[in-house]
Amino acid sequence: MPIARWKLLALQAAVAITAIAIWHIGSAGTLGVTFLPKFFFSAPWDVGARVVKLFGDGTARIAHCTDPLDITRLLSTSDACFGKTIWQHLSVTLIEGLLAFVIGSAAGILFGFWFARRPLVAAVFDPYIKMFNALPRVVLAPIFMLWLGLGIWSKVALGVTLVFFIVFFNVYQGVREVSPVILANARMLGMNDRQLFRHVYWPSALSWMFSSLHTSVGFAIIGAVVGEYLGSAAGLGYLIQQAEGTFDVTGVFAGMVILAAFVLGIDWVVTLVERRLLVWKPPAASSQT
């Protein structure tokens, strides 16, 4: 049964309000018991105020800049008007995530196709692929920092190792599981190998890849944030890590709120892209909002 849109929104808002209310009551000690001490949990108003302050300070800094911004200054932490602002942290994480997604997807598509079309290659590399995929990627972060430094590329590399496997497995599956009937039909229509690739294998593999778009974009961002957290000079992971280093719980929560909103925003963009690209797919049995 479809739920009315306003009713759903009202219920969703009610969940958030209840959670914030409990948080507020617990931290302010309204009921006589401070079951959520501020030192450990901060307070909703403090966190909100910090978020506003971060954006306010950052925007104020940029407002003073007269010359237009370019990408190198965007990434430079010592930049006079942009360095260490919230806008820089957001851009750095976004750029790292995007690069990780693009590079990881490209490599995943390439290897997915190659392995699917060459069973011998797939069989030979199978145990190694499984081995690397089973490896918790966090342990690679220090190695990437050693190799690539503390800049954005070590975070991109971490994100790539996460995105690659998702895209790789999906493309591999997509190529392998092309319907034999569609394939036979395409061949009877007279398609040569190149045309089969373009009209059958490629769209099939892409549809599998796009179906995991949310997961792979999410992992690209995770790779970036975890990398920043472990060692960097900018980014949302850096912001949270710095706050933690000084027991600034309000700062940690503010960073988490900004990160959550950032990821939601990206997820929304991905949904739009997905709707555009997978217009030919039948709607799923359970519709999402």
């Binding site: 007279g190 009209h199 030919w280």
Partner: protein, 283 residues
């Protein structure tokens, strides 16, 4: 080629003169390796000749290897023994003269109906704009004029079959191979599709090899009905000329007394094989 002949039903020879063979399967054996080792012989020593412009239906019990035989004519399957000749030349690789209509959905789900039909031409090097224009003509011909922008999942089973039919016919193949094309459709849609096929076929009378398990459909559509025995090692055991005059209406033809006579005669032969096929499965 077959005028109204006298009752009782005459058995056709099954062999046309050499120069008149569009499709000629001679002594074809088909075998598949079994999972536990050994070989499963699906079709044994099947011989079938189809003359140009002839509409031949292959009928047999479920699982008898009718589709297997059709795939041999298409070149999708290489027979273990015997020869396959298309338009007088031995077949090697895929049959480029044939269009194939599959039982299952074979449209590309990521393309619209129009793009699917146009693709059949684009593959042969026709420029996209021209292919699209000609595809639109064919969609109109199969009754889907305003459905060009629909994707596969937005079409009904019957509509998908119409698109598939347009996709096959737009290439103007000399031979049309059909593997239970209307099998998944409901009874009314099947008869409507049968009439559509007859109308389109009447325009240039392509050679048709039509596989079905539905004897009534076979008699309603074909010039000749070939009966296959129950598998394994299925053979061709009967060959009947259908002398009901054309043009036929796939629905109304079933009410004619001549239809019933033919049906009775062929069914007497087919019934034993159907019982055998099910007996074999149960036992």
């Amino acid at each position: 080629m077959d005028g109204p002949s006298d009752v009782p039903l005459r058995q056709a020879s099954g062999v046309a003169a050499p120069s008149l063979r569009a499709v000629h399967l001679a002594g074809v054996d088909v075998a598949f390796p079994e999972p536990k080792g050994g070989v499963f012989k699906a079709v044994s020593n099947a011989t079938l000749a189809v003359a140009p412009n002839e509409f031949v239906a292959i009928v047999g019990p479920t699982g008898c290897g009718k589709s297997t035989l059709l795939n041999c004519a298409a070149g999708l399957l290489k027979p273990a023994g015997g020869t396959v000749e298309i338009l007088g030349a031995p077949l090697s690789g895929l049959n480029g003269h044939a269009g194939y209509l599959f039982q299952q959905d074979a449209l590309m789900p990521w393309k619209t109906a129009l793009a699917n039909v146009a693709l059949a031409l684009e593959v042969g090097g026709v420029p996209t704009a021209e292919a699209m224009a000609r595809a639109q003509v064919w969609l109109t011909r199969v009754g889907l004029k305003s459905f060009g922008d629909r994707y596969s999942h937005q079409l009904s089973g019957g509509q998908r079959k119409r698109v598939a039919l347009a996709q096959v016919l737009i290439r103007d193949p000399k031979i049309l191979l059909m593997d239970e094309p209307f099998g998944p459709l409901d009874a009314q849609t099947r008869q409507i599709m049968g009439n559509l096929l007859l109308d389109l076929w009447a325009a240039d009378r392509k050679t048709v090899l039509f596989v079905t398990h539905d004897l009534e459909e076979a008699i309603a559509l074909a010039d000749r009905v070939v009966i296959m025995s129950a598998g394994p090692a299925a053979r061709i055991i009967g060959d009947h000329t259908i002398d009901i005059p054309r043009p036929r209406d796939a629905t109304e033809v079933r009410l004619q007394p001549r239809f019933h006579d033919i049906h009775r005669a062929i069914w007497a032969q087919l019934r034993d094989e159907v019982v055998k096929a099910y007996g074999g499965e149960v036992g």
